[in-house]
């Protein structure tokens, strides 16, 4: 796919994003062959969108998938349908990632006693009962990195700092 696809409008930087989108989406192909008409399984769309810098909620993700999937749901998404939608999302800067300070405030809301940490049980309760609940696997994964085994709690300020550094 050449870099001339995508809307003609938009700044230079976003136009040069379009080929990046192509590559990223075409990339996770396991089997041999380079068929242009790639199909992606629905659940992988979330991974793709998020790795392109977007941060949608699960609900937003479902809406998006509904928008691009086939009339008869095959469990696959076709690239040609996905690309224009994705390009628009990027140009509109939809689903912006969450800044560090906003994230911190979110933790502080849950930490009503303002101790600077949440206990393991509290974290589990919030993450699995509130918002868009985590699956068991997601919860375990988060706990493995977040919880300080000695105090059995998450010091969220340090946690955020560590995760953000890791990102970059």
């Amino acid at each position: 796919m050449s870099s001339t696809r995508g809307p003609a409008t938009g700044s230079l930087s976003t136009a040069s994003r379009a080929p990046e989108v192509n590559e990223d989406i075409r990339f996770p192909q396991e089997e041999g062959g380079s068929s242009v008409k790639q199909r992606r399984r629905k659940r992988e769309i979330g991974t793709i969108i998020r790795s392109l810098g977007c941060c949608p909620t699960e609900g937003e993700l479902h809406d998006l998938i509904a928008e691009v999937e086939e009339e008869e749901p095959t469990g696959y998404i076709r690239f040609e349908k996905f690309l224009p939608v994705m390009t628009e999302i990027l140009l509109e800067r939809r689903y912006r990632p969450i800044p560090e300070d906003v994230l911190l405030r979110a933790f502080e809301v849950l930490d009503s006693a303002k101790r600077g940490f949440l206990t393991k049980d509290e974290l589990i309760k919030y993450m699995t009962e509130e918002g868009e609940p985590f699956s068991q696997e997601e919860m375990e994964e988060m706990l493995s990195a977040a919880i300080d085994p000695e105090s059995n709690s998450i010091h969220y300020k340090d946690y955020i700092t560590m995760m953000v550094i890791d990102e970059n």
């Binding site: 793709i48 994230l103 918002g131 868009e132």
Partner: protein
Amino acid sequence: MGSGTSTRHHFAFQNAERAFKAAALIQRWYRRYTARLEMRRRCTWSIFQSIEYAGQQDQVKLHDFFSYLMDHFIPSSHNERDFLTRMFTEDRFAQDSEMEKCSDYESIEVPDSYTGPRLSFPLLPDHATALIEAFRLKQQLHARYVLNLLYETKKHLVQLPNINRVSTCYSEEITVCGDLHGQLDDLIFIFYKNGLPSPERSYVFNGDFVDRGKDSVEILMILFAFMLVYPKEFHLNRGNHEDHMVNLRYGFTKEVMNKYKIHGKEILRTLKDVFCWLPLATLIDEKVLILHGGVSDITDLELLDKIERNKIVSTMRCKTRRKNEKQMEEKGKANRKSSAQEPIPWFLPQSRSLPSSPLRFSSYKAHKTSRSSSIPCGGCLDRRELSRQVRSSVELELERCRQQAGLLVTGQKEEPSRSASEADSEAGELQKPTQEEWRQVVDILWSDPMAQEGCKANTIRGGGCYFGPDVTQQLLQKYNLQFLIRSHECKPEGYEFCHNRKVLTIFSASNYYEVGSNRGAYVKLGPALTPHIVQYQANKVTNTLTMRQRISRVEESALRALREKLFAHSSDLLSEFKKHDADKVGLITLSDWAAAVESVLRLGLPWRMLRSQLVNSSADNMLEYKSWLKNLAKEQVSHENIQSSLLETLYRNRSNLETIFRIIDSDHSDSVSLDEFRQTWKLLSSHMNIDITDDCICDLARSIDFNKDGHIDINEFLEAFRLVEKSCLAGDTSECPQATNAKDSGCNSPGAC
């Protein structure tokens, strides 16, 4: 009560709402984080896999190149002819092993000081179990017992059919394991978790027991022992790595020679025999077919059942007979076929006249001379990928030789062929397989499934094909099978279903690429033959790491390997970059960088995604490519004294060089004479685009021969360029060159090297 309660309620509601929103925000953020982690993991995976497969492809190409030279090169002297003959001694090996008695092991004495396990035959279950325990304690089995065991193993294998038929009515459960690749920890874990083999517990090991890992010998000993103890319940399939040619490159040969300094050669010779007698496939209840690689659109189980499987000594290179040749021989004629009718190998310019369709012919009988006699399939596709340099330099070399000899190639087919075929025909009973027989075996040992329908040449591996769901369906229907179990490909979870759950890939070597890279798995088949998968990861360290840490470690390792590869192609990259820099500013866009890198390396990796890891500094999306290349070099070996192009070439061909050395070093003495070294270098330099004068090579050779005994051992050579792998010193086969100062190579004439 009224307003107070409602205010409290209002606050409570607000708080609940805020908590809800806060939780949702955190979850949203976290999910993005894990998605990015997943992307990194897949990138890393892609890097490892593409480098691994590119390496396999290299080997095939290299073999083709040298085989072709061997067949067509007109030696200008007796010495050169001998040299070339010795380069491919597989046929001579056959001669040797026929002449030597296999019961040689009886003459080997085991010293009293030996504290390892002692075997006596017929083997008992206790012996096999004792082996596991001994190896767990890092003991080594004495060469005498190794050879004895191999001898008995071969005796047993010879009686087995090509396709083993197993029934579940005798044993309650059957466990199928995939690639082990010398990782003893995984095998021990499987036996520990699943139980030892017994009359009630059947096992099938689906090939690739050796190479890459450090305990291939031990794994073979254990597997063979159990096979002898429980012949009806314990089954082995041959994998593409059960092949002495492949072993030369991927570490098994080296492991044997390191562990058995005196008897290693003999062990390898015997193993060559044992490997080619391994069965090709296992069939359970006539319903589940287990084989190592896969199938193709021409896979014919009836034919596979009937061929003499031991004729296919190696899937790498095979002198095959043509069908009518076979008939002619049967009629009593003994002349060699004229080379004019032989198909043209991929690396010659003439091959451009071949059809360019990437799809294979569906009917094998319709094949024209579109395939070379030595590569598994699809010569037409390889053509697109080969480097123009190789073609022209090979042609040049051949031209020179032809001129030297004053002869035309086609007119003198007798001369060079004789030296090669002499050994063949003298090998006595070891007849050559037909082209079709060989193809059938290569297909089942090398193929990979793909999502698209159809069947096409597996150019990434250089052997076998990619087969689609329709091919699977066709095969299952034709032979009334339920599904296929295969291995051959590493999977992150240790297993993967595809083709509508008709094909199961099972891979049992955990942490294959790097600690934390993947799980291993095995599959148990119950009474209804429904598969039940068990996963594991045999490494204590990974269990304590978080997913993030695991991915980072593996990622680092992959990126290091990738940077090495980039460095090895520095000059090609530079010229490619320059093409994008028409104004000669010294800058190119990052997009151009990605395009250039892919066109040189051809790994099919998402370079834009990897860019941030590989390119440190770029202003306004532009890259100063020269300084980037310089930085790459700095990370690698410091090379003040050796010309960088030479170093680069060595780096790129590091594993090739070793393979070549080991091929030349036919007696596995680990040393080559200075003369052999020179000849090798000459051939290699025509294969690569490096101009090295004879004097330079001699100087190089002499300076490398540290102890001046007229011989260079491989370690001396690699040491001189600090390319010694850690494995030589530490006994583990991970590939990792040391980054230290290189010694003065003596190649001082400017411009000559």
